[in-house]
Subunit: 141 residues, 4 copies
């Protein structure tokens, strides 16, 4: 994809397919509003996302990964491609159970140097389980 071309669900899903890590976690884009800088991802519980066998709880690292990717693509909507993460912050509010979680990411500001996104992660019952915030380069990396 050339920079400047608008991202959409299909083009982002193609990038996800090219990332072994994102593909293994089976993240999927379910909604996207480029003008608002908003994207929604779903991540299912898979054979290796569990924090401990039989808990049906996501490992915190899987949730941090979802926050990173969701925030990245919220900023990407403004700059036209995936961006390097500068820093990432994740707060774990409640245990996150399967069968899936949804991440709602919103770009709060995209300037010339960096972009900041907020991410709320909801459990399958709609309850907030994790919140995250990421600072990304505003240049496609």
């Amino acid at each position: 994809m050339s920079e400047g071309e608008a991202l959409n669900i299909d083009s982002i899903m193609a990038m996800f397919a090219g990332s072994p890590f994102i593909a293994a976690l089976e993240m999927e884009v379910t909604e996207l509003d480029a003008a608002a800088g908003r994207i929604r991802l779903r991540m299912p519980m898979t054979a290796f996302s569990e924090r401990a066998k039989g808990t049906n709880q996501f490992h915190g690292g899987a949730l941090a990964s979802l926050v990173d990717v969701a925030g990245d693509f919220a900023v990407a909507l403004a700059v036209g491609g995936a961006v390097p993460t500068i820093d990432l912050r994740v707060d774990y509010l409640r245990p996150a159970f399967g069968p899936h979680v949804d991440a709602e990411a919103t770009a709060r500001r995209v300037g010339r140097t960096v972009g900041i996104a907020d991410v709320d992660v909801l459990g399958a019952d709609g309850k907030l389980v994790t919140i995250g915030r990421g600072c990304y380069s505003a240049k496609v990396g």
Copy 2:
């Protein structure tokens, strides 16, 4: 393991084996100094840790996961078992290439309520690639 019993490399590796997520990332404890609150983990590049096919670079989510686990067990050394993560912060300083990265985690303070750990992640060439800091519950969870 009962609370209070000292953790060691073998008992932590047994916990890692019981975590599908940690096992999939093939994290391994390589050094441990319980009295100093220090632990060192190695994470190899595997088929699914790559951020994009052919880059030989770790995905930021894999690095965040390593930071989370390393910091958790630095605090665990003081409290006798794995602890819930309250929040996690990760700064990405340089691209992290395979064949592996090493995380050196140190507990900075473990109080009655929370424990704080710092994590430096080094590339195979010994250069600092990522730094993290986590706040954990000080009670085995």
Copy 3:
């Protein structure tokens, strides 16, 4: 104030008056919704809040202080009194000019151990200038 008694604008302003630091920054509670865990503070530009003489811009430390206090009292609404800060994160999106800024703080979750609050800081023109997030003890300290 005994724990459990509901906080209101007057009781919080009395606590502010007892804090030399908050009083010096002239923070004021302008709105409060205890049921929603929301509080709004205003901080005027004063003789010593400026980052450099003649800029009419708040120093980042003054904004971090506002975020800390606003988030603290958003959690305090649920627990009945001011709480110790465990950690604080502040993102600076745009320069913050006088004559004042407003902080809108919302508790995202208050559990048995910790409470988490989000804080948006708006300039006098209503633009978002700074965002913050704090983790606090859930026990009055």
Copy 4:
């Protein structure tokens, strides 16, 4: 000061004098190692740094301000002047009592876009009271 000219204790103290906020908190540079990216600041307890009258404890906002300034000038040593703060994280480990605290800041990495600094804040008894980490623009602002 023109960019590129080396910063030293005197030139930084002159900048501090030009900042009403830093001057009010009476921060002072006590050590500086430009080659190592290290700077040490002292902040005394003053009439308005107290979190509550008679506690002799620094307000968390004063400590966050010290972390911000110390980290900023650790990065500044590499780029030749004070830099805009992008984001700031502060962890409060223990209450910080007067008569003063010392902040030891070290640049962990200064790249083309951003610089990252770590800050340890020690009480007058030498105990670690607060730790911070800041991300700054790598361009003088």
